[in-house]
């Protein structure tokens, strides 16, 4: 699928999946779209429907209620789709590891390709993460 990925990398359309985060990564993701950072200049665009998405931006610990929904969202996305875990929550669970409602194995619901750590990661870090993804797609 090398030729497909190369075309994908030119203009990545992202869909934002908030799976029980604290809202902070979400507002930083939205911040990327506003004039100061403006990632639309790299062809990256936030889309309203999962069926248009090339990349899912996942934030939060994925609790037991939202988990099956996240799984369904992932199944609905056209493949190939890449999942970027934004923030510490998808990678390590942040401070919520002791919670009774956290799903211990998040990969069961949604396989994550790239992690951007930070609580919340700075917008610059998010841009760097997406640039790394683009590099991988370009081979």
């Amino acid at each position: 699928m090398g030729w497909y990925n190369k075309r994908l990398a030119k203009s990545i359309w992202v869909f934002h999946v908030s799976a029980s985060p604290c809202n902070n990564c979400d507002i930083e993701i939205l911040d990327l779209l506003t004039p100061y950072y403006d990632i639309e200049r790299f062809g990256i665009k936030l889309v309203g429907s999962i069926r248009h998405a090339d990349v899912l931006l996942l934030s939060g610990i994925v609790n037991q209620k939202v988990g099956p929904m996240v799984q369904r969202i992932y199944q609905q996305a056209p493949k190939p789709v890449f999942v970027v875990g934004v923030g510490t929550c998808p990678s390590s669970g942040c401070c919520f590891n002791d919670s009774y409602n956290i799903s211990q194995n998040r990969e069961e619901f949604i396989p994550i390709d790239l992690y951007i750590p930070g609580c919340p990661p700075k917008p610059e870090a998010m841009i760097e993460g997406v640039v790394k993804l683009v590099e991988v797609l370009n081979g």
Binding site: H16, S18, C22, N23, D26, T34
Partner: protein, 395 residues
């Protein structure tokens, strides 16, 4: 008359967080609304009881990323209420400074999202453009853009460098100019007015009946503000006005928030002036926290935050209860959404600035016969629904 059900969510392009609304509509008119929550539930109260006091301040910071200093302030007030510690004057001003800057960034964030919800993306881009300097101020003060980590029991963690005050004042002047411009735009813009005036009206009586707090209640003519009613930290020492409007529609909620930003800028400026002049410690070390119980209140951008802490002399709280403002503001949808066209429903839902992360942090099922840890919340919720359904239908 036929009724249709329109589901909105849990992942809807216009909703930033995952939540699930069910709108019952008759033609174009909303006749009933239901809300399914729990998508954001992380169990903060339970986790907090296993952490030490210092750790739980960082934990409550992560209840919500937008009001991420209101919860710590209310939490340290609750713990300070238990151990009766004096706060140094300089620390009071720093707390108020951070709290008010947060109000500015939160209201600007709401203003932008409200513009986005009504399809007026120019408002979104402008509001968020001027939100960015506020985050830069946070970066100068605390080193972080969000989740500042400034609060400690007995004071604050980090001092404001007096050398940074002129720069902060300069950024503040710029923001103030732009905010006055935005206030004028809100007053003049025909699109905003025709879209928002008399939409989603919450009457004064309804606001009182639903115990609405914060800008939601103040836009309906209920002058409730913890900053004035029960001043803590430096709020008794600074001069500010409580903004109250009468109509209770979405436009009034916008006006209250925009004018509150200008009031907050006034408070921040007074705090910066004081911080340039007064010297002193910023933290009183607390050696021991005695057994007892304490409450902490703070006026978050969305309304009153309430924290309750019970201690037993160890280094952990044995009970930590949080009441977030959106928890009481969300039920006002029942009054404000009925009878309005479906196109206005979403902006009405957004107008109270609901924060589901705050609301859903703590729903704990207590069943004394079973260990509460082993209960699957989702299964419990479904069983309960099934029971209610049987009760109603009699089978």
């Amino acid at each position: 008359m036929s009724k249709n059900t329109i589901p909105v969510g849990p992942f809807h392009p216009l909703l930033e967080e995952a939540e699930y609304f069910t709108l019952q509509v008759d033609g174009e008119t909303v006749v009933d609304i239901d809300l399914d929550i729990g998508w954001m539930h992380r169990g903060h109260e339970f986790i907090s009881e296993q952490k030490t006091f210092t750790q739980s301040i960082y934990l409550v910071e992560r209840i919500c990323g937008i009001c991420s200093t209101s919860h710590p302030i209310a939490c340290v007030h609750a713990i300070e209420d238990v151990c009766n510690v004096e706060i140094p004057e300089r620390a009071c001003y720093i707390r108020t400074l951070v709290g008010e800057l947060e109000r500015i960034h939160s209201h600007l964030l709401w203003l932008g999202l409200a513009g986005h919800f009504i399809g007026y993306d120019t408002v979104w881009m402008w509001a968020w453009k001027y939100r960015e300097p506020v985050l830069q101020m946070f970066e100068i003060i605390s080193g972080n853009r969000n989740h500042y980590g400034m609060m400690r029991v007995g004071g604050v963690a980090k001092d404001v460098d007096p050398a940074a005050v002129p720069e902060l004042s300069k950024i503040l002047d710029m923001i103030e100019k732009k905010m006055i411009m935005i206030a004028k735009v809100a007053n003049d813009d025909p699109v905003l007015k025709s879209r928002l005036v008399n939409v989603g009206v919450l009457s004064k009586q309804d606001a009182i009946n639903f115990c609405a707090v914060g800008p939601t209640s103040r836009a309906s003519g209920v002058p409730a503000d913890v900053r004035r009613d029960e001043p803590n930290d430096a709020y008794g020492l600074v001069d500010f006005k409580v903004i109250v409007t009468e109509n209770g529609d979405v436009y009034d909620k916008l006006v209250v928030r925009v004018l509150e930003i200008i009031e907050s800028i006034k408070i921040v400026r007074q705090c910066l002036d004081k911080l340039a002049n007064i010297q002193g410690p910023i933290l009183n070390n607390v050696k021991e926290i005695p057994p007892g119980e304490g409450i902490g209140r703070y006026e978050a951008p969305r309304g009153e935050v309430f924290h309750y802490v019970r201690t037993d002399g160890t280094n952990r709280p044995i009970r930590h209860k949080v009441r977030a403002p959106s928890f009481v503001n969300i039920p006002t949808f029942m009054a404000s959404c009925k009878g309005i066209p479906i196109a206005d429903a979403l902006i009405t839902l957004a107008a109270v600035d609901p924060c589901y992360c705050c609301t859903e942090r703590s729903l704990k099922v207590v069943d004394h016969n079973r260990d509460s840890l082993n209960i699957n919340l989702l299964a419990a919720s479904r069983t309960r629904t099934e029971e209610i359904r049987r009760e109603i239908h009699g089978r």
